[in-house]
Structures are given as C-alpha cells and as structure tokens.
C-alpha cells in the first residue's frame, strides 16, 4: 500500500513537471498548435545569457517601461535618447517588442546615430509586475567608417 502511494506521488510529480515543461518551453506550440507563432530557438540562448548576465555582471543599465497600449519605452544610461516602439503577444508567456530611437546626435561619438531594438519580454514576478530579459539592438552610424553593428543587451523594467 505504501509502495503504491510512493509510486503514484512520483507519477504525479513527473506529470506536473512534464506539463510545466510543455507550458514554459518556447517551442511547445510546435506540438499542439501549428497556427500559433513559434518563438525562435535563439530565445533559449538569450534567456541563459540573461540569467548569467544578471548573476555575474551587468554591462549596461537599460530600463524598460511597458505601456498598456502596446507601446514601450526603453532607455540606457550610456545612450540618453530613449527608444520607443510597439510590442505584440507572441505566446502565453512572451511578448515581442521592436522599436528605435530614431536618428539623433551623440556628443560622445560626434555623429548622428540610430539604435534599433528587438527583444522579447518575459515576466519575472507577477506581484511587482517586473519584466526582464535580453535582446538584440543594432547601432547605425552616419559617418563612413563604422558599419551597422549588432549587440546583445540585458534589460529590466516594469510592466503594466
């Protein structure tokens, strides 16, 4: 009888973990709903990079503000010009956001630059409405000599 209880508990535990894995996995839509947009495999690498980055080092402080009208604002402490853009629901746990600063003069680089942001948003704490993650941004320069340069970044901020 005791053996049966232990076995059923283990079975329930394995079942719960499997369900949780399917829900969290960004590719779970492949199995059940082909019509839903699927998150790219790169998301896993981005998420791991984000976790390692927040634990061991933070190369730049980037704050994100999500608004309820599907727009966002993101600002870096190195580049004062904020970027704005829009986001949409990618799946149950993910938002996909894209935006740009537009062209502006950077006094340190002494030229006009533009920063294009592309990132995914995953809620980190429901109570505080915290969001955090990593993404890619592209620096576009106006003078000859420096080509458009992509860079990974880590952000954090608040949802609505």
């Amino acid at each position: 009888m005791a053996h049966s209880n232990v076995t059923s508990r283990r079975f329930c535990l394995v079942l719960c973990i499997a369900v949780l894995f399917i829900i969290i996995s960004p590719r779970h839509n492949n199995f059940f709903a082909a019509s839903v947009q699927v998150a790219p495999p790169a998301l896993d690498r981005e998420y791991i990079a984000f976790l390692l980055g927040t634990v061991f080092f933070l190369p730049e402080v980037i704050d994100l503000t999500l608004l309820s009208d599907n727009t966002f604002s993101i600002k870096s402490d190195l580049f004062l010009q904020p970027a704005t853009g829009t986001y949409h629901q990618e799946n149950f746990f993910l938002l996909h956001a894209q935006g740009t600063t537009g062209k502006f003069f950077d006094p340190d680089f002494q030229e006009d630059i533009e920063i294009q942001y592309d990132f995914r948003i995953r809620p980190m704490g429901f109570r505080n409405r915290l969001v955090a993650g990593s993404g890619t941004r592209i620096f576009i320069f106006s003078k000859d000599g420096t080509p458009p340069t992509p860079e990974r970044f880590i952000y954090c901020g608040y949802g609505f």
């Binding site: 390692l52 061991f56 080092f57 190369p59 730049e60 190195l78 950077d106 006094p107 340190d108 680089f109 002494q110 620096f139 320069f141 000599g145 420096t146 080509p147 458009p148 340069t149 992509p150 860079e151």
Partner: protein
C-alpha cells in the same frame, strides 16, 4: 555539492578570462564612450570629449577646448620627462602627432580614434570599431589594436 562548486567555478572562470585578457580587435576607426580611463599609444589623430584630466607626451599637438582657460592662460603642468598634464579639461580636445602616449581619466568620455595604435579602455562603457565589432570597457582594461586607414 562538490560538483555544484566546480560548475560555479567553471562558469566564473569562463566569464573572467575574456575580461582579464581584454579583447584585441583590429579596425581603422574606433569610437568609444564611457567613464573611467582611456589610454592611447600610437599615431594620431584622435579626439576626446569629457570632463577629466588629460596627460600627453611631448610629441603631441594638442588643441584644447576653450572653456579650460583661466585668466587667458591654460592650466597645465609640464613634467620633466612625461609631457604635459591638463588637470581640468571639459569639452572636446583634439590630439595629433606620432608616437603619442595619451591618457584621459574622467567622466562622460567620448573618443574617436582615426590613427593607428593601441587603445586601453578601463572602466564602464562601450566601444565600436570599423570592423563591425562592439565591446565593453572593463575594470581590468580592454585592449584594442587599431590599424590606421591610409
């Protein structure tokens, strides 16, 4: 438990190795911004903006921003062997010459190097070069080699 410590140590070493040794990229132009110390050795020209102190060697031809002049004279200290120290620079400084040895320490630093040589970026910031590389300043110093465009 022991395996966990080994894993944590491995991850920490993987992250620390590139920071200590610094990156070494090649490109014709380097632009950087941040806070800390930027050191350049090589041939000019380059321009530096920011608030801080500038040290140049005797070979440097320096054009200072106008707002560091006090009583119509530039505040500077000439060392016997190490060149000139400008302790309070605030603005855009142009430096040209050959066999330069330049160091700028301060805040809100922006640098644009068109010459050839080696740049060391120590502190907190970001840089880009003409080869399409982006990188970070580091506490130990990030070293970048630049080939001048001729």
């Amino acid at each position: 438990m022991k395996g966990r410590y080994i894993l944590m140590a491995f991850i920490a070493v993987c992250l620390l190795i590139p920071a200590i040794s610094g990156n070494c990229e090649e490109g014709g132009i380097l632009i950087a911004k941040g806070n800390g110390v930027i050191t350049f050795t090589g041939d000019g020209p380059l321009s530096i903006t920011g608030e801080g102190s500038l040290v140049v060697n005797k070979n440097a031809s320096v054009t200072l921003p106008e707002n560091i002049f006090i009583n119509q004279e530039t505040e500077q200290y000439i060392r016997k062997n190490a060149g000139v120290v400008y302790p309070h620079v605030n603005g855009k400084t142009l430096v040209d010459g050959e066999d330069l040895e330049i160091s700028f320490a301060g805040a809100n630093i922006g640098a644009r190097v068109n010459g050839g040589g080696t740049v060391v970026l120590k502190g907190y910031g970001i840089y880009f070069d003409s080869a399409g590389n982006a990188g970070r300043w580091s506490a130990e110093g990030t070293t970048i080699a630049i080939n001048a465009l001729r």
